[in-house]
């Protein structure tokens, strides 16, 4: 069965610190990978996505993620966080090879950035 694991439930960082949020997935085939963000009081928004090609993808607001196929991972990174990055971050996957349309989400990581 498909699953997505986000091992960090709550991360607290000071401004300017570097960020890496882990995401591992279990899926028997080619996948599309996504990171979504939910700012306080707002709806889910797409940060970045990987379908194919360069495994290092860049998204909005200085975020990037690297797809490592051998590790079934798609970790999210940002070199220097800002207070405005305080939000909940969700990793998601769907099956490109099966044509499945729905997304499987991890449980999310809450990021708190201290000014």
């Amino acid at each position: 069965a498909q699953s997505v694991s986000q091992h960090n439930h709550h991360v607290i960082l000071s401004e300017a610190a570097s960020l890496e949020l882990g995401c591992n997935y279990s899926y028997g085939g080619t996948v599309n990978l996504f990171w979504y963000v939910q700012y306080p009081g707002q709806h889910l928004q797409l940060l970045l996505k990987y379908f194919s090609g360069d495994p290092l993808v860049k998204g909005i607001k200085g975020f990037e993620a690297e797809f490592i196929k051998s590790k079934f991972s798609f970790n999210l990174r940002k070199p220097s966080v800002q207070w405005s990055d305080t939000a909940e971050y969700f990793c998601a996957v769907n099956g490109a090879s099966t044509g499945a349309n729905n997304l499987f989400f991890g449980t999310g990581t809450r990021l708190t950035v201290i000014p």
Binding site: Y36, Q42, H43, L44, F51, N101, N102, F105, T107
Partner: protein, 114 residues
């Protein structure tokens, strides 16, 4: 431009009542998804429409849950005889085509069953 809208934003229902949750997708979006998000969890897939056709309803937790999209635009998720375990945020998302395209999410409806 207008995004995905959902109504009501909050709904309190007594156990046993029926509820109807509405989703207005982005105009022209072919695909529409419903997800359920319990407290402290990520969204979980409920059902998927392509235009008016419900192509996947494998995530609906019981036969008390029913979704429709009769004209291929607005969708309604209906929950009959609500139970406390139905308390969650119900999210609607739309996209221009299938799952390989970005899904745009609405703000959700928070359902509380007392």
């Amino acid at each position: 431009g207008a995004g995905v809208s959902q109504s009501p934003r909050y709904k309190v229902a007594k156990r046993g009542q029926d509820v109807a949750l509405r989703c207005d997708p982005i105009s022209g979006h072919v695909s529409l998804f419903w997800y359920q998000q319990a407290l402290g969890q990520g969204p979980e897939f409920l059902t998927y429409f392509q235009n008016e056709a419900q192509l996947d309803k494998s995530g609906l937790p019981s036969d008390r849950f029913f979704a429709e999209r009769p004209e291929g635009s607005v969708s309604t998720l209906k929950i009959q005889r609500t139970q406390q375990e139905d308390s969650a945020v119900y999210l609607c998302a739309s996209s221009t085509a299938g799952g390989s395209y970005e899904q745009y999410f609405g703000p959700g409806t928070r359902l509380t069953v007392t």
